[in-house]
């Protein structure tokens, strides 16, 4: 037995309409849409919001976890050392790494002075991913090129790297941490130093 083509088309159209109405989160499946949404939420809900620094930090953590694939970034950053580390060390690393990003970024929320954000274009990248190019333009007219590397996950796109003026956040952390692991006391040494960094940042951010 076959379903007529028309019935099928009608069914799928109503399904699409239904899911749109139900979730209205099309932007999760659009690379540029996701990046625009991240910037919009970041500016209105955090940078421009009239809330305490602690609330800003908390909101940023939620936003960061929602839009970034932190486990994937952590795996990239630890690279070959992830395989040698114990599951506990990998977990510890993932949670410290999240803290490092959250606190280093939130340290600077106060410096926001109405810079504007413009998404330029998007191109295919990696396994079912995208690279979104954007510009951050300051009030003095100076602009920074910021590229966002995305990967498609079950719930839509997630950010896996931010590249500012050619400098990749993930690669920079990977090289820095590799150096620390080799020159200090292995993974345990890195984790101890990250813990100390997080404590220091926390004390500063408040």
């Amino acid at each position: 037995m076959t379903i007529s083509r028309r019935t099928f088309a009608g069914l799928s159209a109503s399904f699409v309409a239904l899911s749109k109405a139900a979730f209205a989160q099309d932007w999760r499946n659009s690379p540029t849409g996701l990046v625009e949404k991240f910037a919009e939420k970041g500016i209105t809900d955090i940078l421009g919001a009239n809330i305490t620094q602690r609330e800003k930090t908390d909101r940023f953590r939620v936003l960061f976890k929602d839009f970034f694939d932190i486990p994937s970034i952590g795996r990239f950053v630890l690279a070959r050392f992830a395989r040698a580390a114990t599951p506990e060390e990998n977990d510890k690393f993932a949670s410290l790494f999240e803290d490092v990003i959250v606190y280093t970024w939130s340290r600077r929320f106060g410096e926001y002075k109405g810079q504007s954000f413009k998404v330029k274009d998007s191109s295919a990248d990696g396994d079912d991913g995208a690279l979104v190019n954007s510009d951050i333009v300051g009030n003095d007219g100076q602009s920074f090129a910021v590229a966002w590397r995305l990967r498609k996950r079950e719930t839509g796109f997630r950010v896996v790297d931010v590249i500012i003026e050619g400098v990749s956040m993930a690669i920079t952390y990977r090289q820095e941490y590799a150096t620390i692991i080799q020159q200090a006391a292995g993974i345990a040494g890195l984790l101890a130093q990250m813990q100390k960094q997080v404590d220091d940042l926390k004390a500063k951010v408040g």
Binding site: F76, D140, G166, S168, I180
Partner: protein, 269 residues
Amino acid sequence: MLSRIPSSTIRRIPVLALAIVLSGCATKPPASDPAAVAAFAESNDQLEPFNRAMFKVDQGIDAVLTRPIVSTYRSIIPDPARRGVTNFLRNLRSPITFANSLLQGNVDRAGQTIGRFVVNSTFGILGFADIAADLGTPYQYEDFGQTLAKWGVGDGSYLYVPVFGPMSIRDGAGMLVDNFAFDPVTWYSYGKNPAWVDWAYFGALYVDVKASTMPATDELKASSIDYYAALRAAYRQNRAKEIRNGAPAPAPFMPAGEDDPFAAVPAKK
């Protein structure tokens, strides 16, 4: 990196070379560990013991000399005026970009550089205003280190020199060529030997470079554990972007036949 060396200090370069030799090289990982070898190649820092020592010296110079000067400069001179100084120095150094564009076979860029120089030197009042950028021809910078890279010359090694900052052996050599062959200030002072012109020019470039890079390097310092390693990683990527003239990186992320390094991490049961 700072890209000018005062003529009178050139004779000290052999001293630097000797210091590099005496401080020894970083130990290469064994060939049996390909991932470690790849990481060693990525940071390309064969002179790490020397570089770290020089970095420490530079951090000291920064603290006692550079930072006070730069913060005074930043607080006394308003932002638009500092942009003017940057524009003036860039315009003055146009011959370097012009010559290197030609050496790289980029005639269009050489032409744009001449056009910018003419417009900015006249309507831009000796180069203080970047009128050409407003008219749609933005500033571009080429140096002999980039030319050598385009010609296929490798980095040599990462190199950190106090005051001059991060560079590579290739780019350090390139800087010397630019200084002697293409820098109009060298042409002007050649034979006359008015040392103050050379030093004033060097000082202006130094303060200008530091004032514009300090916010970014301070941020990197505050967000890193091993600032030396973080700066090396960031500098090398930024320099690679300059050499590519801003084109997107040729995905080091996905060598043929390898898995996506940003693959999803399976959730735990």
